[in-house]
């Protein structure tokens, strides 16, 4: 197999694939389907990971949450000043945010309180609100929503304002003062920016508390030290860093695709046996052909070579077909059915498009998971075929 490619032998192998007709097509289809499933799952996982990573980058360096009895509760705003006093802390901002369940559409909106006199706690937010005058927003009782949110509201006949229901059961109308566009689908589809005051009212929270505190550190290397200092001072605060989130997301997705792959390996095993069986069963014409060729001066290695070309061409073409079908299924059709395996919260979150993210690494990975396994399954049957007795044609 070290030798260079023999074009005529390749041509012969292609011809013999064609002559096997139905058997070739059957194997091709099964192989395509397997590769297609595998490629789709890996692509969906990668795309969601990509989307989340983009979102993660916009998250604060440290988020402080207060836990009482193992449950997250509001944190007192006073603590902000103590944290600001720590060396290395550049900014500490109390946040007011939460989810608002909108029953008619069955979706959760994320409501984030913003304040005209406070610097927004993340860059993305200031980008989003740059075009809007926040002080007038406060005066007029307005809010800014994402494009996706606007669509949901409009479907429910709220075209210029929206009635929130406070925990006390009162109506609290806010004008839709503006709409923003975001590349990050998760942001655009569920984010509502409301004045801080309004957020307190909607959630029914006392004004001396905040949902959590985000901390900015001038030197990212110091993050662990500062986290340590804060948690020493306030043992009931839990600090979540950007890195923690990134690693846990990566783990979840590797775990989920790993779980799927483990199932896939069971399929591969079954497939292996099917191929072995199919490749072992030679028709009498094939046996006769091999006998003739051996009598004409073909070595065993020539026949194995031809069979190797056959399985390589078969595996490679099925690989390419399955891969392209998966590209189409995931990125054009947006992976109906399959994506819900990965988006556990898809019922509550508004939908988003899967961003395109395919790299060489994935192609190599898919290749290793499919082509060598198929070829392995045909190794022994090829050898068996090649070692048929040639003098059978003489009898």
């Amino acid at each position: 197999m070290l030798a260079n490619i023999n074009v005529l032998l390749l041509d012969y192998a292609l011809g013999s694939l064609k002559r096997q007709g139905g058997k070739s097509i059957f194997i091709f289809l099964v192989l395509c389907l397997l590769i297609f499933l595998l490629a789709s799952v890996l692509m969906i996982a990668d795309a969601i990971k990509f989307e989340l990573n983009t979102t993660l980058k916009t998250l604060p360096q440290i988020t402080l949450q207060r836990f009482v009895a193992g449950r997250q509760t509001n944190v007192s705003v006073e603590r902000v000043d103590t944290i600001l006093a720590l060396n290395g802390v550049e900014r500490a901002i109390p946040r007011v945010w939460g989810y608002y369940y909108f029953k008619p559409a069955g979706v959760n909106f994320s409501i984030v309180g913003i304040d005209a006199y406070e610097e927004p706690y993340k860059k993305r937010l200031s980008e989003l609100t740059r075009t809007f005058d926040l002080s007038t927003l406060e005066k007029e009782g307005g809010m800014i929503v994402g494009e996706g949110v606007q669509n949901v509201l409009r479907e429910n006949y709220y075209s210029d304002f929206f009635n929130f229901i406070t925990p006390k059961g009162e109506r609290y109308p806010l004008k839709i003062a503006g709409v923003f566009h975001s590349d990050i689908a998760l942001e655009s589809n569920d984010l509502m920016l409301v004045p801080k005051q309004a957020a307190y009212t909607i959630f029914g929270m006392p004004p001396e508390e905040a949902t959590d505190i985000v901390v900015h550190v001038s030197n990212p290397v110091e993050i662990p030290t500062i986290v340590q200092k804060i948690t020493e001072r306030y043992p009931d605060l839990r600090a979540i860093t950007q890195d923690d989130l990134r690693i846990s997301y990566q783990n979840i997705f590797d775990y989920k695709s790993g779980f799927f792959l483990s199932l896939f390996i069971v399929c591969v095993f079954a497939f292996f046996i099917v191929i072995y069986d199919k490749a072992s069963g030679l028709s009498s014409e094939e046996r006769r052909e091999i006998g003739i060729l051996k009598a004409l001066g073909w070595r065993m290695s020539d026949i194995v070579h031809a069979k190797f070309y056959e399985s390589f061409v078969m595996a490679l073409s099925a690989f390419l077909t399955g891969f392209c079908a998966a590209l189409f299924f995931v990125y054009v059709l947006q992976a109906p059915l399959l994506r819900s395996v990965f988006i556990g919260y898809s019922e509550l979150k508004p939908p988003f498009r899967l961003p395109f993210s395919v790299d060489v690494k994935m192609i190599v990975l898919l290749f290793f998971l499919s082509v060598p396994v198929y070829i392995a399954a045909t190794l022994i049957p090829s050898w068996k075929a090649a070692s048929l007795d040639a003098d059978e044609v003489m009898r």
Binding site: L8, Y12, G15, L296, R299, D302, D391
Partner: protein
């Protein structure tokens, strides 16, 4: 050229051993045309297989072109066939699904020769046998005579010094048989050694046959 020395061949069939060849010794000179005569089951085909290196004798020694073919490992005996031996089978044994040219070059496909060399070789043989106009046609769509000529062209593609024919006229009508004998005659003229296994009486009184060897129950009589 060919030298068999006390060759025996036994097959195991079920529990009993069948002795297909019993102590066969034979010598064939360069350029000779020898007919192996015998009823079916007399061991003719077995003898051809052994000479071609397709099977190994149970005992004895076979030399072809001064190489001890009976001792060659399988892959080397295949190379030996590819280099020196041409085969004409019973019922031609063409490969269905391949066209005429592909069938003709079939013995040399694994040799990985440059394409133009191979096409040139094929062209010469096909022209000599007047099948060059049908080069791209599927062999299934050829007449019996044409199929026969393809088989002969295939046997000649490697310019063999020895041609082995196994029942070449079985299942052929009189006209085709006569045509085949004509081709064999021309081969004999060109100096090729011919060994023809047959029980067809047509071969028994031909001028160019140098010798008739009769096989009966695996023995030369």
């Amino acid at each position: 050229m060919i030298c068999l020395h006390h060759v025996c061949k036994r097959f195991a069939q079920g529990d009993e051993a069948i002795e297909a060849l019993k102590d066969v010794s034979l010598e064939i000179a360069q350029g000779e045309c020898v007919v192996l005569r015998g009823a079916s089951g007399s061991g003719k085909s077995t003898l051809l297989s052994l000479i071609a290196g397709l099977a190994q004798p149970s005992s004895g020694e076979i030399r072809v072109l001064d190489r001890e073919i009976s001792k060659l490992p399988e892959h080397l005996s295949a190379l030996f066939r590819r280099a020196h031996i041409g085969f004409i089978f019973q019922k031609f044994h063409l490969i269905p699904g391949l066209n005429v040219e592909e069938n003709v070059i079939a013995p040399l496909i694994p040799a990985n020769l440059p394409l133009h060399v191979l096409h040139e070789k094929a062209r010469i043989k096909m022209e000599a046998l007047h099948i060059d106009s049908k080069a791209k046609r599927d062999v299934k769509r050829l007449s019996g005579g044409e199929q026969q000529r393809v088989a002969i062209a295939r046997a000649l593609i490697n310019d063999p010094v020895l041609i082995l024919a196994d029942e070449p006229t079985a299942n052929l009508d009189a006209k085709l048989s006569a045509e085949l004998i004509e081709h064999l005659y021309m081969l004999k003229q060109s100096g090729v050694t011919l060994l023809i296994a047959t029980h067809d009486p047509l071969f028994f009184d031909l001028d160019f046959v140098d010798r008739i060897v009769e096989l009966k129950n695996g023995r030369i009589v």
